[in-house]
Symmetry: D2
Subunit: 247 residues, 4 copies
């Protein structure tokens, strides 16, 4: 009989942390062994509980230090906190390699969003004419969304050269959207929306549309659980949920 | 037993005219009694065939004159040709009223497109937060589409005041679309698309989406046939397919 | 200067009632003058607070009696509770007519859902080929949804005779959906969905798609607020949100 | 400077063949060196024109023999004709291996459709709750579509075990669709539709939707051209467009 994976949630009182506690509790093969927060003694709790995996949803200013603590204390980090600099990532990758103990840092744990980005980039190799529509609630102040920008970048890196469209004339300025890495992005803001993204790819006589709808924080949990299950076997640090999907 | 309506198609060799000929032929209650084109003698043919309804898909420069001819020769016009000035319309309305013989002039005979515009305007009375996405093939040179502009105008005339959205910050200029009468319009251009329009209306916890997809010229024919069937009973001139839907 | 409408919420501790309290409070032209629940003395509270409108989200078994109380105590009812029999409705209509004091009883206060049903029925007069897809979370035990059935009925009452489709052969039984009043209904059940409905209407070369997405109980509130604003002017009882949209 | 690839189209007078002729002609790096049809002498024409690649869209009864002829005459086959038995495929694979000359046989050359199937199967590993909606014009006599069945099979082979949905009760039989390999399939048939497929995957708080719209035979051509460009380098036979996308 296989034993459960022992999981500690750090940042357990935050919005995401509470979701993570709920998610870990609802999985039969995971055992929640502790909950800590900013200010609690993380190292001691890892040691005291024998946690194998630590899920961290705390604050950007603490993220890098926490990850280091988790690795040094013998546990595998699964970190959804943002705020890592490239230098942070590099330093933590070296540490993990040295300790031969790995984990996952991911800015977006929504499996569907990560799959959409990957599929969009993949599809653009064969259908290079692409536009992005991202739709969010009307209280979101900035446009475009970070996910749309990241999606455009992932597409731009892989897509084939696009065909020549008609020379464009905008009789109402802005209707053709904004361009990022050459890809038009359209941002819709309406009450009643939550967080949605659509990538449209067109080819001769056909279109391929990829859409992700995210309704709640709960959408991040399947990705977190997936990472928790894989973490104990990892011997290096992975950045981005997409990098462990295939492991 | 009811007899068939006698129909003449003017502009029968053009793209739309050929579709109209096909459409009239396929309806059991309509009889195609003639086909004419620019240069043919329209008045004589109406008289000779005893046409009750003349469908006109010719050229903007001839549209007003043709409509006058049709009315004076005793038939009811169903005109899809564009290019009428407001003065043309007014003059033809007077003529039709005087003769007590009516018909239909419509810039768009696609029933679905006309319904969408009407529904969008109606819905905006209750859900005033609205955005329009129109999607066309990549050889369309101008943006936004005329239908999108007309839709925005119809919405703007009827909608209730919208709620205050968050102050907007565009980090990539253009992503929030172009505004016409205060309504954001987004134009997508991709190969594989034909002619599509989506109106999104948002309210607390809900969205209502209206979408029309037009795949071919054939999409105009149900509207033309509808108008042909109603034309013999009309005693004044109607402008816009939407004005006769309820008759 | 116009004064606020005085509103009492009955059933204020229930899920819908709490939403109603929040919604009334957030509108500048409405004044929340009281909150009652099953067991509280409704008649006395109406009298004591001088409520002009009473919003009722209580229990099916109390709905008819509450509505009568509200009418007799001099207030206008806006009732979202379900469970009225046709006889209840008839009796309350008579009472309202006699008292010359009206209100609204509506089984569905989501403006978007009600508009979708009306538009679908209207569009089917011109595009009689229709199918319904309703999509709900996977914990919904029954299929199809009540809204889909009601939509099919509203469409069936108004639509023109549909064209002859190809004789159908189902190689996997059930793929063509279930039929209600001759209209195919398809029910999708997946985690991550909330409550969505799509009506697809097809015609020659075109399709018209109407979609409503409902994400939360909050989606009922704009309809409730609309009814509250209109209620003080009503001198008879209206059944169905759609019946007051045009007033 | 690279020289053009010499291409012969067999079945050039058929609907697909005519499209292939047009497509090959419009690519600068491909040279159309011949057009043949059933009854023409294929072997001689390959020899006479020095064709490097032969595109075959002929008849199921001739497909296997043609492919053998193409391989033996020293050209690389790109075959869109259907009707191959598993034994045919096996025999042709052996022949190609022996001759060290490869090519592509594909039942579906629409890049978007093939990508959709692959993405759906891939996504179902992480989001195992899946339903398929396929939508076609109302003259299609059979349901579900072959593509929907193939998609369900590809998903079924790779997906993780799905969660337990609520026990289902169908009050209108058929609304929950038909099941193939455990996956619900819904078939919509309406005039105005062409050929469309949607795969919906649901997870906690999110949905991922993949949709392919095919409007014309032209949609197969980018896949054919892709195969033509890769064929000269192939030293074995590939079955399915998806197998060469990554080469």
């Amino acid at each position: 009989m296989s034993t459960s994976i022992r999981v500690l949630v750090n940042g357990a009182k935050g919005k995401m942390g509470r979701e993570a506690v709920r998610a870990v509790r609802s999985e039969a093969d995971l055992a929640l062994v502790g909950e800590t927060d900013l200010g609690d003694r993380l190292a001691e709790t890892i040691a005291g509980t024998g946690a194998q995996v630590v899920v961290d949803f705390t604050h950007p200013c603490a993220a890098a230090q926490n990850t280091e603590t988790i690795l040094r204390c013998g546990a595998h980090p699964v970190v959804g906190t943002t705020g890592f600099t490239p230098a942070d990532i590099q330093r933590l990758e070296s540490l993990a390699a040295e300790l031969r103990r790995g984990g996952v840092i991911a800015p977006n744990f929504a499996v569907g969003a990560v799959l959409l980005m990957r599929f969009a980039a993949e599809a653009a190799r064969f259908l290079p004419d692409v536009e992005i529509i991202e739709l969010h609630h009307d209280q979101k102040a900035d446009a475009p969304s970070g996910t749309a920008v990241k999606t455009a970048e992932m597409i731009a890196e892989r897509r084939a050269p696009a065909g020549a469209a008609a020379a464009e004339k905008e009789s109402v300025p802005g209707v053709r959207g904004g361009r990022w890495r050459g890809i038009p992005i359209h941002s819709v803001r309406l009450p009643g929306l939550v967080a949605h993204q659509e990538v449209l790819l067109g080819g001769l006589g056909q279109t391929l549309t990829l859409r992700h709808d995210s309704l709640s924080r709960a959408s991040f949990m399947p990705g977190v659980i997936l990472a928790v299950r894989k973490a104990p076997r990892l011997d290096r640090l992975y950045y981005g949920l997409e990098t462990i999907l295939e492991l």
